[in-house]
């Protein structure tokens, strides 16, 4: 590239690799890396984010466990009220969200523990295990709710 053309594009010497020519031969600044919403989501990236999201959700969910135990530690009417709420549509929705998050974090956590043992670091392995966790979560959630509703 001619020095005059270069000077027009490059404001700093560290940007020397950030200029190129477009299809018409005009010197242009190369586009910067696209942002989050432009990328295709690989399963590994989605799994990593979901592990954190479900972890934080489950942390908040312990408020529900504490509330239920407080109710169980007080009188019959208070406990009955708590059980009634958990059986209401809002209660069931909360329980459903909690159970799916727990089952996902459970399987995803085992995947992390296997990595910690030094196993399954190559791309085919972590893509397969990622999908396996998602499928196991789906099957586990359905199974638990089928059994749960049958018992209830």
């Amino acid at each position: 590239m001619a020095p005059a053309e270069l000077e027009r594009c490059v404001k700093d010497v560290r940007e020397a690799l950030m200029v190129g020519r477009n299809s018409e031969g005009k010197p242009v600044r190369r586009p910067l890396s696209p942002h989050l919403q432009v990328y295709r989501w690989p399963v590994s990236m989605a799994m990593s984010i979901l592990h954190r999201v479900t972890g934080v959700a489950l942390a908040i969910g312990t408020l529900m466990l504490t509330w239920w135990l407080i109710a169980a530690a007080s009188s019959d009417p208070v406990f009955d009220q708590a059980q009634w709420f958990l059986g209401s549509p809002i209660g069931l929705l909360l329980l459903f969200g909690w159970s799916v998050a727990l089952i996902f974090h459970f399987f995803s956590g085992i995947r992390h523990l296997v990595w910690d043992a030094g196993i399954g670091f190559d791309a085919p392995a972590y893509n397969t295990s990622g999908w396996a966790v998602l499928i196991a979560t789906a099957i586990g959630s359905v199974l638990i709710w089928v059994i749960g509703l049958a018992v209830w």
């Binding site: 954190r52 972890g55 934080v56 489950l58 942390a59 312990t62 408020l63 466990l65 504490t66 135990l69 407080i70 169980a72 530690a73 019959d76 406990f79 009955d80 059980q83 059986g87 159970s99 727990l102 089952i103 459970f106 956590g109 085992i110 992390h112 523990l113 910690d116 638990i144 059994i147 749960g148 018992v151 209830w152």
Partner: protein, 131 residues
């Protein structure tokens, strides 16, 4: 370069002057998280099946269930492992996304305090029912 102090540790002189850098507690934090994770694998399975067993249960059934020493002990381990694991995990999330030092420190301490409080409430409730 003259005047650069010789150092055997991988920490810049500026970092040392500011007192920042490794607190030398990282591996303990990491290990605590994995240890509680391993403990929570069987405990979570047991807890899910217990919740299914107790769905729609009367107060008396729950009291009887917690009155078993086996159940009570498992609940206590579950509570301690869960809140310890949770507190370590949320700390990492806060440290990754909150960059203002004061907000970060405040948030981490608040999560830790709340975890201790909630864990104690759960322990007291379980003991009150089970004993």
């Amino acid at each position: 370069m003259t005047g650069t102090p010789h150092t055997d540790i991988l920490r810049s002189p500026l970092g040392r002057a500011r007192g920042l850098g490794s607190a030398r507690a990282g591996s303990h934090h990491w290990w605590g998280q994995r240890l509680t994770a391993m403990a929570l694998v069987p405990l979570t399975l047991w807890f899910i099946f217990s919740v299914i067993h107790l769905s729609g249960a009367s107060h008396q059934i729950v009291i009887d269930w917690l009155s078993s020493p086996f159940t009570l002990a498992l609940m206590l381990v579950l509570i301690v492992a869960t809140f310890h694991h949770l507190q370590l995990g949320v700390q990492v999330v806060i440290e990754d996304y909150v960059h203002d030092e004061r907000t970060k420190m405040g948030a981490v301490l608040a999560v830790k305090a709340l975890s201790v409080l909630l864990a104690l409430i759960c322990i007291v409730c379980v003991l009150k029912i089970g004993l």
